[in-house]
Amino acid sequence: MNRVKLALPKGRLMSETAALLDQACWGMHDYYEGTRSYRVTCEKFPDLMTKIFHEKDIPIQVATGNYDLGICGLDWVEELIVKYPNSALIKLKDLGYGEGAVFAVGIRNGENSELDAIKARRNTVRLVSEYPNLAESFALKLRLRRFSVFPLWGAAEVYPPDSADLALIAATPGATTFNHGLRVIDTVFSFGACLIANRDRWESHDLSEVLQSLEDTVPAWHQSHFDTKSAPKPINDDSTENGPFTPIPERVVRLALPDGHQQSSAVALLKKAGLRMDDYPSPAGNRRPAIVGMEDISIKVIRPQDMPQQVAAGNFDLAVTGIDWLRDHLYQFPDSPATDLLDLKLAPVRIVALVSNELPVSNGYELRELWSRRAAGIRVASEYTNIADSYARENHMGRYRIIPTWGASEAFLPEDADLLIENTQTGQTIARHNLKIIDTLFESTGHLIGNRDSLTDPVKQPVIQRIIGILQRAVEN
């Protein structure tokens, strides 16, 4: 099959990529911000097979050969090849937009922010990042004696200095200020949107038509991003209103509240519980709100996906997150001190196993039977890699492989995955993407989770019990 396959980004680069392709007269009417379709037709190249992915998935999809070409930020390309230098990826062209830089960020607190001071430390240096491979490589290059890397789904900037020592953060010029006196202590690298190709396809197939069209359109085709003039400057906003960070007293109870989809139901519950929130939700994007009148609790707003590991590592005592994410965590770390405390009954969803409607199977058993006659293993895509792994094992899926995804997972079926483990609220998305449910794993709601060791801390224990009591009454009413 000689159809050229292209992976396009959703999210940050979407509108500019759409503008570029529009200028090249590709006629991709379904590629716009807020589109509900993950498959895009192209009037100019009717044979072009195009799908929309989360940016982070694109280098992987191109490297594995599922796609010939892809457009994504160079940051995600680097994140892949720093760990897997043999990836079959070729960086073809800088596209001239989507500039940003990855910074190592720490606290501005006298000498403590200096790299040398961090390097000299004998205890564990905690790094957080959406780019765990780059963070590890950064730590190795600094020759840190002892470090831990916590991969994050987002909100890395709110972790230092109390929940992490260093954060590796992507920032776009002018768009981000690091609050609470955080400052850039090293620029890891600058990046922009780029066109990448699968090496084998590049060497063996004619992709020239598509490339020529982009070549003619991208104005500054040859201008490199690594030109120092165009590189974003480190953002050190000394005049930030937040001022320097005031250390959190050691024995306060540290609570994590969710951003994103779970936020509104969490806000409603806190209100029902009679807790007066200061700046949650925050129109300005403040991630350190407070409960009025409760000084013994300190709050941070982070991604629900990141909470179980953060609670387990002792960076938080309590968190409000979906039980799906706690389960995923416990499949990876069975003895983890992160534990379920209270079902808050927030935002119920079902965790389901999905296949394409075209497959003649109606349950896991039939899927397995169908695949037992095929040469290749079942490809299981999921944001919940550990739940998916456990599901595949428990259902004796044989030679399966897990494909971690970062959202837009429905797009993977049927070409790039065979089975999807995903959450669903109403089932509408499933129908729209021509998928069907073959199994329901469990129902997930928002829970209060906590660190088992914090529950036995004499200072924290009464505060935690009080919060559990308040929330329990709110749930029951």
Binding site: S137, K141, R145, A313
Partner: protein, 414 residues
């Protein structure tokens, strides 16, 4: 993508076949016997270690650390990674520190180390034999290791063995005089160790008068080191002591008639070493290397304890030892064949047990058509008439009727 459903071994790994294992055991056993005779004791550290053991040691480069097999353990929620041991010496140093002993220790190990190779053709699991002498830190200790290594290599039957000596402290000291970043120093060091002395001269022209005669020459006796000592006495007073040790060692080797070549610039990969480095060659092939690593134990949080050691890769050595299967201890092989009648199998097993106890190799014939493998000397058949055996000499074709198993054994011993 998958193009085959066949089960196969992991990329970069290899099965050690029965033939390979015979060679492997020969090398391992020779190494073990030698070490024990020199008073060394065997230790076996875990395959899993914390990644921070190797980051803390500071002796593996970021590039090497980027190629370790690391992962989060089942209790790795704190982000603490574990690795499949990428090195043999660092775990031994860790063990020594953790044992709490401050006494000198003579330790040896035979273990596998794991390093990712990007081509997929090189083996990612490498078996090593190594010996460490911790806490002695004298010329005598270095000399002991050199002699022990030499004895092992001779016992292995390696031909054309030569010895090259170098000194890590010397290059480090010269590099320390350069006003360049640590990273640039590391890069420069790699170039120098690849033989590019000019790179160093370019970086510090005023040192050319030292660099060329010292790094560009190959010394054949302790006299060379005495010459070097004079050249360095003014600019590098800190090297006087270690160079005197080096000279003493060379003197000892001279007196014992051991030929060597002093080549300060001899090969990469000596991140640990702080002083003497010795490397054994068989013809044009580097076989084993070792040296003094005085800083490692303190880097890992232990006391300031000197140490030396050496290691050799089993796979590497095997390429030059030739076929040693003939050196395996030979035992007389007997194949025991029961008749297809009730009670005969029991009789065969009793016979085999008795033969094993008497020190013979005996195995059961499983099928009629089974070919008798080479090395088997006798065929013992149980008979229909109870405690009766027929013993066939497979070489001569002679056949004996024997009444009891003890008579069989007497016959075999005769």
């Amino acid at each position: 993508m998958d193009n085959t459903n066949a089960i196969q071994k992991c990329k970069g790994t290899k099965d050690l076949t029965p033939e390979y294992m015979k060679q492997f055991r020969f090398i391992e056993d020779t190494f073990r016997d030698c070490c024990r005779r020199w008073g060394y004791e065997e230790v076996r550290t875990p395959t899993l270690e914390y990644l921070n053991l190797f980051t803390a040691a500071g002796t593996l480069t970021p590039g090497q650390l980027g190629k370790v097999y690391s992962f989060l353990d089942w209790d790795g929620w704190s982000g603490e990674r574990v690795v499949l041991r990428p090195d043999g010496t660092i775990p031994i140093a860790r063990y020594y520190i953790e044992s709490g002993s401050e006494k000198p220790a003579r330790l040896f190990y035979v273990s596998n180390v794991f390093r990712f190779g990007t081509t997929g053709t090189e083996t990612r699991e490498i078996w090593q034999c190594g010996a460490e002498l911790i806490g002695a830190g004298s010329v005598n200790a270095d000399a002991e290791l050199v002699f022990m290594a030499l004895e092992i290599l001779k016992s292995l039957g390696l031909k054309d063995i030569s010895l090259r000596l170098s000194h890590a402290g010397l290059i480090r000291s010269i590099l320390s005089r350069l006003d360049i970043s640590q990273e640039e120093k590391t890069r420069l060091l790699d170039r120098v160790l690849d033989g590019d002395i000019q790179a160093l001269v370019d970086a510090k022209p005023e040192l050319a008068r030292i660099i060329t005669p010292i790094l560009g020459a190959k010394g054949k006796s302790s006299g060379f080191l005495k010459n070097v000592l004079v050249l360095l006495s003014h600019d590098f007073p800190e090297l006087q002591q270690t160079l005197r040790d080096f000279t003493d060692l060379a003197d000892t080797l001279d007196n014992l008639g051991v030929a060597y070549e002093i080549n300060i610039v001899s090969g990469r990969g000596f991140e640990y070493y702080t002083g003497l480095i010795f490397e054994f060659w068989s013809g044009d092939n580097s076989i084993a290397r070792g040296g003094r690593y005085d800083a490692l134990i303190s880097l890992l949080g232990g006391k300031n304890i000197p140490a030396s050691g050496f290691a050799m890769g089993i796979d590497r050595v095997m390429q030059f030892t030739g076929d040693n299967t003939a050196r395996q201890p030979t035992v007389i092989g007997i194949i025991v064949k029961p008749l297809p009648v009730t009670g005969s199998l029991k009789e065969a097993f009793i016979a085999i047990e008795a033969l094993h106890t008497a020190g013979f190799a005996a195995e059961l014939a499983l099928t009629d058509s089974e070919s008798i493998k080479t090395g088997t000397k006798w065929l013992l058949k149980t008979s229909e008439t109870g405690w009766r055996f027929s013993l066939n000499d497979l070489n001569s074709g002679d056949c004996y009727e024997v009444a009891t198993i003890s008579e069989v054994i007497t016959k075999l011993k005769a």
